[in-house]
Subunit: 305 residues, 2 copies
């Protein structure tokens, strides 16, 4: 990926992901998109990701939730990355995230199941978390050890990946062994200073866009500081090892840093990686950006440890 500098301080990574976000933003400004068309354009999210080689797929329903399995060649089938896709709880799909999840699974030598959980606003919170919990428990019933499951997701799906173990803990259920959140979107109060300071460099996220998605997800029935809907208010005592990343120029970077602070304060083993100059959910550049591939490789090693 080439980089350019807008100021002496800010490096911006130019990439097909940044171009796609700019294009979507242009469409959102110039067209009155219905939710149907909003979903259509966000299903293009896979486009910047190169097809991972040596991976096979299978559609299945696990715990009542449809989704796509990815099986990298030689992967340990007793270890599962339970992947919750991003898209503001309202858009995105297992298809839009198939390649991304498969790249992570391949780097880890594990399998992944990418959930097509129920979407807002048709299905408000906690439908998404409940689908994640149901799928997790179904994997355990199939004989997968809880500690061999990782909850993982990006953006709104990063919120879910963090919240699913909190929901399990609240019910006295076993927890996953690891949690991974790519550019997690947690703050349902729509606060955070990087919403302002990175507004010019983030090519996708805007305060009004998030406002609409919060309204659709919470549906007026859940408080924006509910700790399962907004894990920035959660008690992380006894939480599994947590890996967080975010792009350095994205508007949600302080969701990642605030999660890091809160979980660390509760004694959780947390790793935080901020990738200079990168956009929201920059792991979509897998197979295309050597630095991203190197990070996925190190996440794989971390997951195996």
């Amino acid at each position: 990926m080439s980089t350019s500098s807008t100021t002496a301080q800010t490096v911006i990574v130019e990439s097909p992901l940044r171009d796609l976000y700019a294009d979507w933003s242009n469409i959102m400004v110039t067209s009155e998109l219905t939710m149907r068309l909003f979903r259509s354009i966000f299903d293009e999210w896979h486009q910047p990701t190169v097809e991972p080689e040596d991976v096979t797929y299978k559609q299945e329903t696990v715990g009542g939730v449809p989704g796509i399995w990815a099986f990298p060649a030689g992967a340990d089938r007793s270890k599962v990355l339970l992947f919750t896709h991003g898209g503001g709880f309202a858009v995105g799909s297992a298809s839009s995230h198939r390649k991304l999840a498969a790249h992570v699974a391949k780097a880890a030598g594990m399998t992944t199941f990418v959930l097509d959980y129920r979407l807002a606003p048709e299905h408000p919170h906690p439908a998404q978390v409940e689908d994640g919990v149901a799928s997790f428990m179904a994997l355990v019933e199939r004989g997968i050890r809880p500690e061999d499951i990782t909850t993982i997701g990006d953006s709104a799906g990063g919120n879910l990946a963090v919240a699913i173990p909190l929901a399990l803990k609240a019910r006295g259920k076993p927890l996953p062994g690891h949690v991974v959140a790519f550019s997690p979107w947690l703050d349902m109060e729509n606060k955070g200073e990087t919403l302002v300071t990175n507004d010019a460099t983030d090519m996708l996220i805007t305060v009004p866009l998030l406002e609409g998605m919060i309204a659709g997800r919470l549906g007026g029935a859940t408080e924006p500081n509910d700790p399962i809907a907004n894990p920035l208010y959660a008690d992380f005592t006894g939480y599994p090892p947590l890996y967080i990343n975010a792009g350095g120029v994205e508007s949600l970077v302080d969701n990642a840093t605030r999660l890091h602070e809160r979980a660390s304060a509760a004694g959780v083993d947390v790793t935080l990686h901020i990738a200079e100059g990168q956009q929201h959910v920059y792991p979509f550049l897998a197979g295309r950006d050597a630095a991203v591939d190197a990070e996925l490789k190190s996440i794989g090693a971390w997951l195996r440890s």
Copy 2:
């Protein structure tokens, strides 16, 4: 798939493909779609197709044309289905047709390369045929025997699959061993009685939709009876064995029957299958409709013969 009867004569297969076409048609009527959004919704074409199991993928550029390889487990890598996707020469992609092409390749025990050929109207005819010819010749240069290549495609890509061998023949190049056309769209004069008689039962194709695509593809520079753009005017002498299918209730069914007549009259070994009650490019129901899977299996046997 369930079926319903609208009259004593007409059986209509209800399916997620028919539902998707109805939804697209509704969007096309109710929204003023830009070409950008038109491409976005047609990239959903993969949705009715179940992920084929035991297939791996790889992005590559062959003869200057990008695309996606699909490698079914145990496939004969010396045999290649060169797949040109549908979408009126203007929309669709290797991604929208990855699963469909992989199902056919799996049924045949061969590999497939799905081309992301240049699209109209930015690139008018003959850009699409030229990309197919370039990719075919590049495969031959890599050591694939011409007779071990099949040109295959659906809708506008079915036109290309039929036209690429015609273009090769005109240049004295070797021909593929087989040709397969799913619901081929050939008639650039926009004629044919099933455009009228099946208008009510076809959930996608309309005369105005085709008119717009013809204008974009021919760009005023190619005559609509040019035999490479419209193979219904071509000389099929010496043409390879040809398999054609079409849905019984689709508006383009007589493109299939006219191609069958013309190629048969030239002495070509032609197989025609009309699937009762089915829509345009019904093989998109692969993995979901037992009759479609059975047909793909028989196409696989035909390709190996």
